[in-house]
């Protein structure tokens, strides 16, 4: 047990002495680590408001060091929060007086097997660096979220991320074969003794950690499936009479097994801003190693699209999207901040039968919220059962409008049978509405949290803890 008095000071002394040069608590560092990319936290920061500061930031270099830090946190009953790229948008890393465990010095590619198409990495590796590594060997993770330039693997797993190519390659949960994790009491859950494509050896703990948002420990290693870089790619765009026709066409494509790598159906408001098109448009990218297979898929897809009123408008919108897809700053600089507006995105998913209503009702209701300026929408991750709709919102830059908008949005999604989050996660932002979606399941998850984290030190104050 640690000291009873001044536990913070004692822990700081310990970390300073055991991690010289790798523990910081200067003002600049604390402020930078006081938030992720949650738009509300960023708004507050730009307005000069002080956010809750962590106690300090430590950069471990091995799983043993992560374990040591967590044991110290338990000894002194000081909470900790794992931190990777910091690109989350839900306030998941905001943790007052916590020790931030930044895993980015643990950034090695441990092994890569071309034959097995598997890569083993430390969790702090930046996604961009990993993708560069794989591309130079003719492979790809094909996990390309908008946060691609700044995200790190551990954070993508902890928030159950998905990417722009998910329709063909799946979300992060489908890429993770195995995880090494340090639990909230400092124990190490190792990788399996073998790496296999699938194993019926009981419930797999990895599923508990994917999407756990730092509340069940720290992810330190990941075994990931990778793909060969496709040899052939095909791009085109189509205008539809309305959003619903586009959805119907995509349903037919997905159920016919004509799965594109990328599919993005923009409603006319969104298409107008991004592509200067005044119609609902669908952007498609197909990619295959085999040219004949690619041509059969695209020909058949075009036939289906035509049946639903889609008219080809050429690949230019796809090319434009490919060029600008990570740029979140240009619009902010030119259109949002100068008009005293602010931004956010709300991503949801629903089944095919519910999607048209979700889309319609969300736009109607949220646009009516006082202070909301624009509600744009595109569907961008498709399944055989339904799709994700991604709403982009601009509104008057103040906290009252922000929460009014979110209240209406969450209420609408729950009422229309959609999820409150498709891939951004819960964090502080959606904490209030999780129970409305999960019901009693949340109690069981909380029991697991209490069992693994009896001292409630692993990113407390979020949705699994109190």
């Amino acid at each position: 047990m640690g000291e009873e008095h001044f536990p913070k000071e004692r822990l700081i002394e310990k970390l300073e002495s055991e991690f010289p040069g790798r523990f910081a608590r200067d003002k600049t560092t604390l402020r930078l680590y006081s938030r992720d990319y949650w738009p509300l936290a960023l708004l507050k920061e730009t307005r000069g408001e002080e956010l809750p500061l962590p106690l300090g930031v430590v950069w471990p270099e091995s799983v043993e060091e992560v374990s040591r830090i967590i044991k110290l946190c338990n000894d002194y009953r000081i909470p900790f929060v794992p931190y990777a790229g910091g690109s989350g948008v839900i306030g998941g890393t905001i943790c007052k007086d916590c020790v931030v465990i930044d895993v980015k010095r643990m950034n090695k590619v441990i092994s890569f097997s071309e034959e097995d198409a598997i890569v083993v990495v430390e969790s702090g590796i930046l996604l961009k660096k990993l993708e560069d590594f794989l591309n130079s060997r003719g492979f790809t993770l094909r996990h390309i979220p908008q946060s691609f330039p700044e995200a790190a693997i551990g954070g993508l797993i902890a928030t159950m991320s998905t990417g722009q190519f998910s329709t063909k390659y799946g979300g992060i949960e489908e890429l993770v074969l195995d995880l090494e994790v340090v639990t909230p009491d400092g124990s190490i859950i190792p990788l399996r003794k073998n790496t296999v494509p699938r194993a019926a050896t009981g419930p797999n703990l990895k599923y508990l950690l994917i999407g756990s948002e730092g509340q069940l420990g720290v992810i330190t290693k990941a075994v990931l499936r990778v793909f060969r870089l496709p040899k052939n790619q095909w791009k085109n765009s189509y205008a539809f009479p309305d959003f619903e026709s586009g959805l119907k066409a995509m349903r037919e494509l997905m159920l016919s097994g004509l799965t594109p790598a990328v599919a993005r159906l923009y409603d006319r408001d969104d298409a107008s801003l991004r592509f200067h098109h005044d119609r609902d448009i669908l952007l498609l990218i197909f990619e295959e190693d085999n040219e004949r297979l690619l041509s059969v898929k695209t020909e058949e897809s075009e036939r289906i699209i035509k049946n639903y009123g889609g008219v080809a408008i050429g690949p230019e919108p796809v090319e434009k999207w490919l060029k600008t897809r990570f740029d979140v700053i240009s619009e902010l600089k030119k259109l949002v901040v100068p008009l005293n507006l602010w931004f956010d995105t709300i991503e949801t998913a629903a089944t095919w039968s519910a999607l048209p209503r979700v889309y319609r009702v969300f736009k109607e209701r949220v646009k009516k919220v006082k202070g909301v300026y624009a509600v744009l929408a595109h569907a961008s991750h498709f399944y055989t059962t339904g799709a994700c709709i991604y709403f982009t919102l601009t509104y008057e830059a103040n906290e009252e409008t922000y929460w009014r908008m979110w209240e209406e949005a969450m209420k609408t999604l729950l009422e229309t049978g959609a999820t409150i989050s498709h891939h951004h996660g819960i964090g502080l932002l959606r904490k209030k509405w999780v129970r409305d979606e999960l019901g009693d399941t949340l109690e069981y998850l909380k029991r697991i949290k209490r069992c693994l984290d009896p001292n409630n030190v692993s990113n407390p104050g979020k949705w699994l803890g109190e």
Partner: protein, 236 residues
């Protein structure tokens, strides 16, 4: 009407689109030692940022963060040391001695610019009218920058972008692309190959200011201060 607000420093709103290119960030993992930190703490930036400009090249807005750390612009001055064409442009305090030797050996002109190194050591902006004045004076003499700093800072060609003035170079091994010239990687590699260099590997990621490797040939005159072997040693 809604009030208009200007975004003077876009880094304050950005998630870090450029961040994976920052050598101090990737080597430490510390956000404070990244463009996100440097844009918020100018003193830290003056001390720790390498002024390699990789962040600016990766920024969708090409925001010139590395020249925003000090407000007062540095005035540039020019001195012609030896007339001739092409005119080799060296920087006072960095490569003047090297420039003198090269201009002598290859019968080039030599001009020395003062002040610009502060852009890459402290992070100062350049006084635009003095830059314009210098470029006007240099233009008739076909100026070529001896260092990546002079090429980038003045917006003139780097020595290796004019390979026809250089002799054949016997070298086989890895080469390093200077941070300030990463956008010209292809042209530089092509020039080196044309000059007879057999390239076995290309390092486009590291910055000499974080240390040089023994098995790599560097194209920055500054590399010699960090223990690196430079191309210029092969020109004598």
């Amino acid at each position: 009407m809604l009030p208009a607000r200007q975004v003077e420093n876009p880094c304050l709103y950005c998630p870090g689109i450029c961040i994976a290119s920052c050598p101090t960030y990737t080597s430490t993992g510390n956000l404070a030692l990244s463009p996100l930190g440097y844009s918020r703490d100018k003193q830290l930036a003056v001390e720790k940022c390498l002024k390699c400009w990789r962040c600016s090249f990766d920024c969708p807005l090409n925001f010139p963060l590395p020249e925003t750390f000090e407000e007062k612009p540095v005035k540039l001055t020019l001195e012609f040391k030896k007339m001739g064409r092409p005119m080799l442009v060296s920087l006072e305090g960095l490569d003047e001695e090297l420039g003198t030797k090269l201009a002598e050996k290859y019968l080039w002109g030599l001009a020395v610019v003062r002040g610009i190194d502060e852009r890459y050591s402290v992070g100062k902006p350049v006084d635009k009218s003095s830059l314009k004045n210098i470029l006007r004076q240099l233009k008739p003499f076909d100026p070529i920058g001896l260092s990546p700093e002079s090429a980038h800072g003045l917006g003139i060609r780097f020595l290796l972008e004019k390979p026809e003035v250089l002799p054949r170079i016997t070298y086989t091994g890895k080469i390093h692309i200077p941070c300030l010239l990463t956008q010209k990687s292809k042209e530089i590699i092509h020039s080196l190959q044309k000059l007879g260099v057999t390239i076995t590997g290309v390092d486009v990621e590291s910055c000499i200011k974080t240390g040089c490797k023994d098995d790599t040939l560097y194209l920055c005159p500054r590399a010699k201060y960090y223990g690196g072997t430079t191309l210029f040693e092969l020109l004598f």
